[in-house]
């Protein structure tokens, strides 16, 4: 048992700072395995949930010893149980609903009956990635801590969630330290121990530099530095494909919009997948368009959808799309007659199995160079297929609802995994890959930079203008 685990067990209300790759997840897994009864293990993202789940499995932590969820997911469940007390009317929560749900549940937790329920249900709560808690989450956790022993784990340097509505994140030094006993930080960079010890050591130094906002070099003995140019991103990504089945993540500095990731993935013709955020806004967007569409518009929705997920479709089906759009005859179109037939059926009947068939068919069209489309947003495409299957079952009122539920299911069964991905830091935080590429590294802010630098266990490639980086 590590010292950190011992200390966690000793303190009922403790906080632990764990730098990236320092065995934080293992520490949590061992703590859960060693503690009595059932721990409620909460984190922020579904990626985080899955990485914890994997680790619990690896250490054979008995599933009766923990319940694992995101803070929001757990709160939503509570809110659905007691909608009046939490002032949440059931439905699909949208972005604006979350603060209401979280504060509603924090309020619910003050009721004596639910305190009894909670104390009967768990022997303690442990929250991972605590630096990403906003003050709403923080008060929910403090309400839980009134009833249960509570441990929080995180890294202030990885607090990369930015919240649009001016919700403040917890300040580790103020909010966390005032309530929880700080126990000694983790000190051993496990992630790199067997793969790249030198990289681990270097990152330990870099962490201090970033804390101190000092410029640092990219020594060639540790980091592959690539000078930024028009083609350097693509070239680097292609180069790392030589690692064959190794996992590779190419990290884009873009924070909010994923378009740059999609564009790069498209240019890499499906060799890298651009992944969706958990609620997959684009999936919702297309589903909503379909729900509102009638007649030919229904065909147009799915040509547009396929165009967003794969190459070639957009140009190859341009005329067909225009004809549907303008209700013109398709008789003059010579190619892809089968697509027209299927989509005409979709236009006339809205039949779900026909939609699925036409999406499948679109994957196999060929252009004049005899090329087929490359799927570079498989996550989005597959989720739509899932959503259509659910919608076909007749249990959902709309495709939007089916789509939401399709994504909810993924939370539980785990996200599809792709060997090579292009992503923003937000979607890969807490996850580990063998090789990491920082695209346009000068553009990362300090916390995102630290998260990005620590993703790869075996190699780190940095594309930047300068051979040194300055945290900002």
């Amino acid at each position: 048992m590590s010292d950190a685990v011992k200390e966690l067990l000793q303190h009922d209300h403790a906080s632990l700072v764990a730098p990236a790759g320092y065995g934080k997840t293992e520490t949590i897994a061992q703590f859960v395995a060693q503690s009595e009864g059932k721990q409620l293990v909460l984190t922020h993202t579904h990626a985080g949930v899955q990485s914890l789940a994997k680790r619990f499995k690896k250490y054979s932590v008995n599933s009766s010893k923990f319940e694992l969820d995101t803070i929001s997911g757990w709160a939503l469940r509570m809110a659905n149980y007691y909608p009046q007390s939490t002032a949440f009317t059931k439905g699909i929560p949208s972005g604006d609903d979350w603060p209401v749900i979280v504060s509603g549940v924090a309020n619910l937790l003050k009721f004596p009956f639910i305190k009894r329920v909670i104390s009967q249900s768990y022997t303690g709560v442990i929250v991972d990635e605590y630096q990403d808690c906003n003050l709403g989450h923080h008060s929910l956790i403090l309400a839980l801590a009134e009833v249960l022993p509570c441990r929080v784990v995180g890294d202030p340097l990885q607090g990369i969630y930015s919240f649009a509505k001016g919700e403040k994140l917890v300040d580790w030094d103020i909010d966390v330290k005032s309530y929880f006993t700080s126990i000694s930080e983790l000190t051993i960079p496990y992630r790199w121990q067997n793969t790249n010890l030198r990289l681990g050591g270097w990152l330990k130094n870099v962490r201090e530099k970033i804390y101190a906002e000092q410029t640092f070099d990219l020594p060639s003995s540790v980091v592959n530095h690539v000078v930024l140019s028009d083609s350097s991103s693509r070239a680097t990504c292609y180069r790392l494909m030589r690692t064959q089945n190794d996992t590779v993540v190419a990290i884009h500095p873009e924070l909010k919009h994923a378009n740059s990731c999609h564009t790069l993935a498209s240019q890499l013709i499906g060799n890298y997948q651009s992944i969706e955020e958990v609620d997959a806004k684009e999936l919702q967007k297309h589903a909503k368009k379909f729900d509102n569409a009638t007649g030919n518009q229904r065909a147009v929705v799915f040509i547009d959808f396929a165009s967003d997920c794969m190459t070639i479709v957009s140009s190859e089906l341009r005329t067909i799309r225009a004809n549907f759009e303008n209700s013109k005859s398709q008789t003059l179109v010579k190619k892809n007659k089968h697509i027209i037939d299927l989509l005409s059926d979709v236009a006339q009947t809205g039949d779900i199995s026909k939609i699925k068939n036409s999406l499948k068919a679109m994957r196999h069209i060929v252009n004049s160079k005899n090329e087929s489309p490359s799927l570079y947003r498989a996550d989005l495409f597959d989720s739509m297929m899932d959503a259509l299957t659910l919608f076909e079952s007749g249990n959902y009122a709309s495709l939007v609802e089916a789509a939401w539920n399709a994504r909810q299911r993924q939370k539980h069964i785990g996200r599809r995994e792709y060997t090579r991905i292009v992503s923003r830091t937000l979607l890969i935080k807490g996850l580990e890959y063998q090789h990491a590429i920082l695209l346009d590294a000068d553009k990362f802010d300090s916390k995102n930079l630290y998260v990005a630098l620590t993703r790869g266990s075996t190699s780190l490639t940095i594309i930047s203008k300068e051979p040194r980086l300055t945290p900002k």
């Binding site: 149980y81 639910i114 329920v117 249900s121």
Partner: protein
């Protein structure tokens, strides 16, 4: 666990029932076919730990499977295990002050937290158990239902005495992790050599401790043994023995007692015990003991041997009623499938000792006092003769003493509990004023004409021969000389100036007075005698004891004249008895 509310739709004879339950010891009474047993069955079905309950079309109201069966039991005192959020912790309700169900809040106490368990059976006959929630519902497993601690004490309890699957004996045994039942079964199969069942004997010993206080006489010593009737060998054939005798050969009553004792001992969370016809197979003394033993008590008094949190039982037994508080009585009525259950109020407690049988009758005659009770008992004998042996009892009638001024209140409350009620008493202005209101509530009101009281009516209306017999009886009862002297003194006081009162005053002198030919005078004499017979009715409250203000005396008085009533058929006395007779015989 404790049931706080029960609603039933379309189950057997019950179309609708909606019952808020505020007691813990609940004795359901009511006439046959009032759906008492159906209520127990409904509770049993919902809380049953069986996963394979079998339903058929006959379980539906009016045998119509289109009417989905829905039974909802709301229970408080929820076991901790069910409270867990990943179990049913998200499905907790509060019983609000206005008797509605809602989400618990800041003020909800533990005791008012409920689980609402719903059983539905539709035309597919597949039972579905769910816990109702605030935005959805969830299936509730047979294992979780077992935690609810319901046990139905059945008429057929033989299986309870074996170590078969899910029997109470097995559950007692499983509390002891050191006993390996499967191994025991094998041991049994291995031929029960010398003394191979020591572990089970330990359990049997334990059971003996549980059952002893119930008045079960164990002749020898409880032990485990192989069912002598069995042809196969397995743990289901390992049964409880008293010495060499299998316990299942005991009488029904003892078997029920042992079974209840075992059930109670395994329910640590507070058992809900259901017993149909609790008196079945038990002598009154053992019955009383049982009634006392199943009376629930607060959790804090619970012992290791488990405790009962709530008991529902049906009874038709006076002995049972006499053991109970009247507020533990709930009368069940069913009219066209609409079943209601109503609790008795405290004020009926006196009748639990004096006329417990009244609560078990569908029809009650509330008499003003013991005199009226006695007279009706006498006239009942006449009716039995005239109606082929069927009297008031055969017509489901019990007489109770309304104790004068409280008579109307009792009558009204009993009526509201669903009893058919007749009021029989003296007429006075007060009663005449209430008559309309009572009749509006469908209470039959029989009062003597002209605001007469009973003694008055008797003295005025009883034919002379019978009246003489009445006096002869009264002489026997009170002493001829004493009574005559007292009559003479009082008559002198009242009528000294108009009648001749020789000294000594003999029986024949009294009879002469009764036969006074002057009608006006005769009436005066009889009226005066009436005030002497019941001094409380005389002006200025006369002194002395009433002649027959006691049920037995009044009955004997009645016996003297009822056979002669046909001679005075136009009299108010005969008329009113006639009206009561009509009501009794339902015409």
């Amino acid at each position: 666990m404790r049931i706080r509310h029960l609603s039933i739709s379309n189950f057997r004879g019950i179309k609708e029932l909606d019952w808020f339950i505020n007691g813990t010891n609940i004795c359901l009474i009511g006439p046959n076919n009032s759906t008492k047993t159906t209520i127990l069955d409904a509770i049993e079905c919902v809380l049953s730990p069986k996963w394979n309950l079998i339903f058929s079309d006959t379980d539906f109201y009016q045998l119509n499977p289109a009417n989905t069966i829905k039974i909802v039991v709301s229970v408080s005192d929820i076991p901790d295990k069910l409270l867990k959020i990943y179990n049913l912790g998200g499905y907790i309700w509060a019983l609000k002050a206005d008797n509605s169900f809602g989400e618990p809040d800041d003020k909800t106490t533990d005791g008012d937290c409920l689980l609402r368990i719903c059983l539905t059976v539709d035309r597919n006959l597949e039972p579905m158990w769910e816990a109702l929630g605030h935005s959805d519902k969830t299936r509730i497993s047979a294992a979780d239902r077992e935690l609810l601690g319901m046990s139905r004490v059945n008429t057929y309890v033989d299986r309870d005495f074996s170590w078969g699957k899910n029997t109470p004996l097995t559950r007692i045994t499983q509390d002891d992790a050191t006993v390996n039942l499967a191994e025991m079964g094998r041991t049994a199969r291995d031929a029960l050599k010398t003394n191979p069942l020591t572990d089970l004997d330990k359990v049997a010993e334990e059971v003996e401790k549980f059952v002893k206080p119930y008045g079960v006489k164990i002749e020898n010593k409880l032990r485990a043994g192989l069912d002598p009737d069995s042809t196969s060998l397995g743990r289901g054939n390992l049964i409880l023995h008293d010495g060499e005798i299998p316990v299942y050969q005991y009488g029904l009553g003892s078997k029920r007692l042992i079974s209840i004792a075992m059930q109670k001992s395994i329910t640590k969370n507070g058992a809900i015990v259901l017993i149909d016809e609790i008196e079945h197979g038990l002598e009154p003394y053992r019955l009383c003991q049982l009634v006392r033993f199943i009376r629930p008590f607060p959790q804090k008094m619970a012992t290791n041997a488990g405790y009962i949190a709530q008991t529902f039982f049906t009874s038709h037994s006076v002995s049972v009623l006499m053991e109970l508080q009247v507020t533990e009585l709930y009368v069940v009525r069913s009219i066209n499938g609409m079943t209601s259950v109503k609790q008795f109020e405290k004020q009926f407690q006196p009748f639990m000792r004096s006329s417990p049988q009244a609560f078990l009758s569908p029809r009650i005659i509330v008499c003003e006092g013991p005199t009226e009770v006695g007279l009706l008992r006498a006239v009942d004998k006449l009716w039995i003769e005239n109606h082929n042996g069927l009297g008031m009892t055969s017509n489901g009638i019990t007489l109770i003493d309304g104790k004068g001024s409280t008579m109307t209140e009792y009558a009204q409350k009993l009526r509201s509990l669903g009893y058919e009620v007749l009021i029989f008493g003296d007429a006075d202005t007060d009663m005449e004023q209430k008559r309309d209101a009572l009749e509006k509530e469908n209470i039959k009101v029989i009062l003597w004409a002209n605001e007469a009281y009973t003694e008055m009516r008797l003295l005025l209306d009883i034919p002379i021969v019978a009246l003489k017999n009445v006096f002869i009886y009264l002489f026997m009862e009170h002493g001829e000389d004493d009574l005559l002297n007292s009559i003479r003194d009082k008559l002198k006081n009242k009528l000294g100036n108009i009648v001749n009162l020789p000294q000594p005053f003999t029986k024949d002198d009294l009879f002469d007075l009764l036969e006074e030919p002057d009608r006006e005078k005769n009436i005066k004499i009889r009226e005066a005698l009436a005030t002497i017979a019941n001094p409380s009715k005389s002006k200025g409250k006369g002194k002395g004891t009433a002649w027959f203000k006691r049920t037995d005396l009044a009955e004997n008085v009645g016996d003297c004249f009822v056979n002669e009533l046909n001679q005075v058929s136009s009299s108010d006395l005969a008329q009113k008895f006639g009206e009561i007779e009509k009501w009794v015989y339902g015409s």
